[in-house]
Amino acid sequence: MYKILSKTYLTDNIIRMEVEAKRTADRCLPGQFVIVRASSDGERIPLTICDYDREKGTIVLVFQTIGASTTLMADLKEGDGFTDIVGPLGRPSELCEMSIDDLKKEKIIFIAGGVGTAPVYPQLKWLKEQGVLADVIIGARNKDLVILEDDFKSVAENVYVTTDDGSYGRNGNVCVCLQALIDEGKKYDRCVAIGPLIMMKFAVQLTKKLEIPTIVSMNPIMVDGTGMCGACRVHVGDEIKFACIDGPEFDGWLVDFDESMRRQAMYKTEEGRKQLELKEGATHHGGCGNC
């Protein structure tokens, strides 16, 4: 069992947990992920690692309750544990492989959206440890959905919060914010965008225009996470890559986001049915229009 040491709600449905996972905490780097199972018959759920403490042997997971399996995960309390956590999986961020001198020459802008804000944190923290301070845009639909702003302030140079409805920080989505920063005279050599597929798709369209090379982090459907099932395949340019072993981070300019959005929806109906069943019992068998 992988014990949960702390559990906090960042919003109504985004949860942060610090969990014991010694082997993962020993070796993980920003950009990598784990696969967890909340119970002995649970689904395997991939989650990006959002922080780690090598001394304590712990990692931090942040997830949003969106389906039956994440709802069951949310029911776990401090002192309970995950049945399984395997990791670190995937390749570390490209930034971790660059020389510190090269990193210091670059001005990096991070774009963090929704629950995807959380995995940006270890990247900023790691960069700060190397003496590099980056800028970051946190995007959310409204004020209540902005997460980790204070944590980010301690590891980034400038934190720009923007909300779709203007209820907090700047007004508009992350693209509006990035364009405004450029118009205000900011210059960036590289962008790292992590968030919902639709956000990354539009962020990449803008950074292409602005000629800022962009890394994105993909979170497709996975089963094993070790290269075995191939469910996570994604077109990057002309090549088909497996997000679990070749990624999860890729050159955003080359990723086929429309295909990824379509593949993401593959089990939507079945997952929706399970979610309804969990809430309302076995009354949904398709055909009602809601499942």
């Binding site: 999986l89 070790t226 290269g227 088909i240």
Partner: protein, 462 residues
């Protein structure tokens, strides 16, 4: 019971129509009476050919004689000296090309049903709580085994019998490798058979640490330098699925056989109450003709689909075991032979709606000795399907070779290891099974695990 010496005692099976709708085991196996009758057909050859066909060299006439005499416990002791997984092998070995393929009875009639007899003994042992025996006291020397599939379990079991302190590192949450994620329940029951065989290996003192991906969670260098393992056996299998590189392979509804089978077998999505989903298909094309293709096809059939096997060569060239092809046909799988896909067709929402194929004809034999198929010009046609399962074989996962200094691989990404010992280019590191050979069979992997265990023992004892 009367026996026709020329023919195998028939084995009872679930009726085809019934089993096509459930995941219960197809074959019921022999009763004691049937097993003794079948055993009486064995000629007890002095120069036993069958043993030469067995990759783990079980004393086949020896255990069959014990069955004849009704000493099933003794028969089990003979088998378990050579094999850690007899209940598995009795079910999934390709006996017709190994032990039974060499049986003298097979020259004029049918070979002795060695596989079914092995299974009978193993199942009897499980029911009666018989366990394999240790051959030497504990010596406290640590050996690491990577992967808990057939080669890893065999290597670990043999080393533990010799007294070593063995830890298996398994990437998934459950031990068993391909026995758990790949081979379906109806061919190899997971709780009743696989879990019990793994318990037997653990009873010898083997520890299994799940959720460790060697190469990511820990490296071989760290295992040897920091965690005190004197030797390492790599039995990590051939996990990476191949695709055809034809248009349409990322459409919704295209799966690797690995994904489809892992969902059903490991994650139990064939059960209504499993939280892991599996596509509810109406009509499925499974591309490929091996055992894995048969497993995927028969799984899809049981989940309620009409299933076509699409294979580019002819019936004789099907690489699957004869029994699997026979069972698949009985259950109603449709074989579209000499047929090769050229494109997967999608609807406007990106879901599979069909598969475009071309007819093939067989030309001259290629370097593998099989007649190579050539497309027939102008023979393209479409099959309407909503699901395509690609079962074209697998290649080894590069994670371990990428992260281990001085470990040589060949151009197919397979680890280079000496035949008969499993010795790699790295001192103290041995390898076997699909990680070395590419996708092969359970029993060949077990043979390699066995030889490596012997070589590791010799290496450590110097």
């Amino acid at each position: 019971m009367e026996v026709d010496v020329m023919k195998k005692v028939p084995v009872r099976e679930q009726e085809a129509k019934v089993r096509a709708t459930n995941f219960d085991e197809v074959c019921y196996g022999y009763s004691l009476e049937e097993a003794q009758a079948e055993a009486s057909r064995c000629l007890n050859c002095k120069n036993a050919q069958c043993m030469k066909g067995c990759p783990v060299s079980i004393d086949i006439p020896g255990f069959i004689q014990q069955i004849k005499e009704g000493n099933i416990e003794e028969a089990y002791n003979i088998i378990s000296k050579s094999s850690a997984l007899p209940a598995v092998c009795g079910r999934v070995c390709p006996q017709e090309t190994q032990c039974e393929g060499k049986c003298i009875r097979g020259i004029k009639g049918e070979a002795v049903s060695i596989g079914k007899l092995e299974r009978f003994v193993a199942d009897y042992a499980m029911e009666h709580g018989l366990k394999p025996r240790k051959e030497a006291p504990d010596n406290g020397i640590k050996v690491a085994v990577i992967g808990s599939g057939p080669s890893g379990l065999t290597c670990a079991g043999d080393l533990a019998k010799l007294g070593y302190d063995v830890t298996i590192f398994e990437a998934l949450h459950q031990a068993g490798g391909v026995l758990v994620y790949g081979i379906p329940e109806f061919r190899l029951p997971k709780e009743r058979v696989v879990a019990k065989e793994i318990e037997n290996v653990k009873a010898l003192g083997v520890k299994i640490e799940t959720n460790v991906v060697v190469g990511r969670s820990v490296t071989i260098d760290e295992l040897m330098e920091k965690e005190g393992f004197r030797a390492v056996f790599i039995g990590s299998g051939a996990g990476l699925p191949r695709f055809m590189n034809i248009p349409g392979e990322t459409l919704n509804g295209v799966f690797s056989a690995n994904e489809y089978l892992t969902r059903s077998n490991l994650m139990k999505s064939f059960r209504e109450d499993s939280p892991t989903p599996i596509m509810k298909s109406k009509k499925v094309a499974v591309v490929g003709g091996g055992n894995v293709a048969m497993d995927a096809a028969r799984t899809a059939l049981r989940l309620g689909a009409e299933v076509h096997i699409v294979y580019r060569r002819g019936e004789e060239e099907l690489p699957a075991r004869v029994e699997e092809v026979h069972h698949a046909k009985e259950e109603g799988i449709i074989f579209d032979l000499l047929t090769n896909p050229t494109e997967i067709l999608g609807d406007e929402n990106g879901w599979v709606k069909g598969i475009r194929c071309v007819k093939m004809e067989l030309g001259e034999p290629d370097e593998s000795g099989r007649r190579s198929p050539q497309p027939v010009e102008g023979s393209e046609f479409d099959i309407d399907v909503d699901t395509v399962i690609m079962s074209l074989g697998t290649s080894p996962n590069p994670l371990i070779s990428m992260t281990t200094k001085g470990l040589d691989t060949n151009k197919r990404k397979c680890i280079v290891a000496e035949e008969n010992t499993g010795k790699t280019s790295r001192e103290g590191v041995y390898a076997g099974g699909d990680a070395v050979t590419g996708a092969a069979t359970v029993i060949l992997a077990m043979g390699a695990g066995k030889e490596a265990a012997k070589a590791i023992d010799e290496f450590i004892k110097g």
